[in-house]
């Protein structure tokens, strides 16, 4: 299956199996996009059904949202640098940038958990209104993906430390990189169509 190795290509593309895995992951991301689309659709329908509970302007704190946005965007950038270092066969640089990426991701997650606690203290829970149900499901699904991504990337780092850079570990690193960038792409739309939209009207 991995008979032909084309060493002129970056490590993660050198075998047919690895190329197919990367293609397969892009197809998976296509399905993830549709999953998030359903949640955006629900939120778009229900976003003004407050049921007498708090509205967007009562609970959203723009400063915290901006910090979350910059943290996640920067982590997407540092993940790009990690993959760049991987292509230079710089294992130490790769791992360093991966750790920085995860630290920024953890910072984002910390902010988001605090945000949810802050909402709950203001009486804004999943049970309060259709607006808040759809909001928590959308944000929670994204946050769960970030959490999963941190665990996944940690395991990839452990493999890199144990096995070094091989076509297989390079492919695994490249795929978690794609996943991480994807989480930031979803966040752009949450930032725009949840937070900014809520604070405009």
């Amino acid at each position: 299956m991995s008979a032909k190795v084309d060493t002129s290509l970056p490590l993660e593309y050198q075998t047919e199996q690895d190329r197919m895995n990367i293609l397969g992951f892009w197809v998976f991301l296509g399905a993830e996009i549709v999953l998030f689309a359903t949640l955006f659709g629900v939120y778009g329908v229900l976003y003004e059904r407050f049921a007498g509970g708090p509205t967007h302007k009562d609970i959203f704190v723009i400063k915290d949202v901006m910090i979350q946005t910059v943290l996640l965007l920067t982590s997407s950038f540092t993940m790009g640098i990690a993959i760049f270092e991987m292509r230079r066969h710089n294992l130490k640089g790769l791992i360093t940038w991966l750790v920085i990426t995860l630290a920024l991701g953890a910072g984002f997650l910390f902010m988001e958990i605090n945000e949810f606690i802050h909402y709950a203290h203001e009486g804004a829970t999943m049970q309060t209104s259709a607006f808040l149900s759809s909001l928590f499901v959308l944000l929670g699904t994204h946050g769960a993906h970030v959490t999963l991504g941190i665990g996944w990337a940690t395991m990839v780092i452990i493999q890199l430390l144990k096995r070094g850079l091989t076509p297989t570990t390079a492919r695994k690193t490249f795929i978690i990189g794609l996943y991480w960038h994807f989480l930031d792409v979803v966040w752009i739309f949450i930032f725009t169509f949840v937070y900014l939209k809520g604070l405009v009207a």
């Binding site: 293609l23 296509g30 996009i33 965007l73 760049f84 230079r88 794609l178």
Partner: protein
């Protein structure tokens, strides 16, 4: 397949990052500091979001790289089509009065 390990500075990533930051703060500024109508603001910041997402697909995720670059592109175009159908379709059907009996 032009991406090789020889380059010493990740220029496309840096440009992508800076432009993303500019688009993010521009969207926030337009949404929160201007007196434009809700509809105009949503069209502007929605467009900025699409531009930023598209740019990250190419500059961070190397969408068209590798022998399956074209397949990836078609896959993403189809995903975007599905997003429009699901999001715009749901909101249209459920809020425009078709469901109000």
């Amino acid at each position: 397949m032009e991406h090789h390990q020889s380059k010493s500075f990740p220029i496309s990533h840096v440009i992508g990052f800076v432009v993303s930051l500019v688009l993010t703060f521009a969207a926030a500024g337009i949404a929160l500091k201007t007196n434009l109508s809700f509809k105009v603001i949503m069209w502007i910041i929605g467009s900025l979001a699409v531009i930023q997402a598209g740019m990250q697909l190419f500059m961070f995720m190397h969408l068209r790289e590798g022998e399956h670059g074209k397949t990836n592109l078609i896959n993403m175009i189809y995903a975007v089509f599905m997003v429009i159908v699901i999001v715009v379709g749901s909101i249209w059907v459920l809020t425009s009065g078709h469901a109000s009996h």
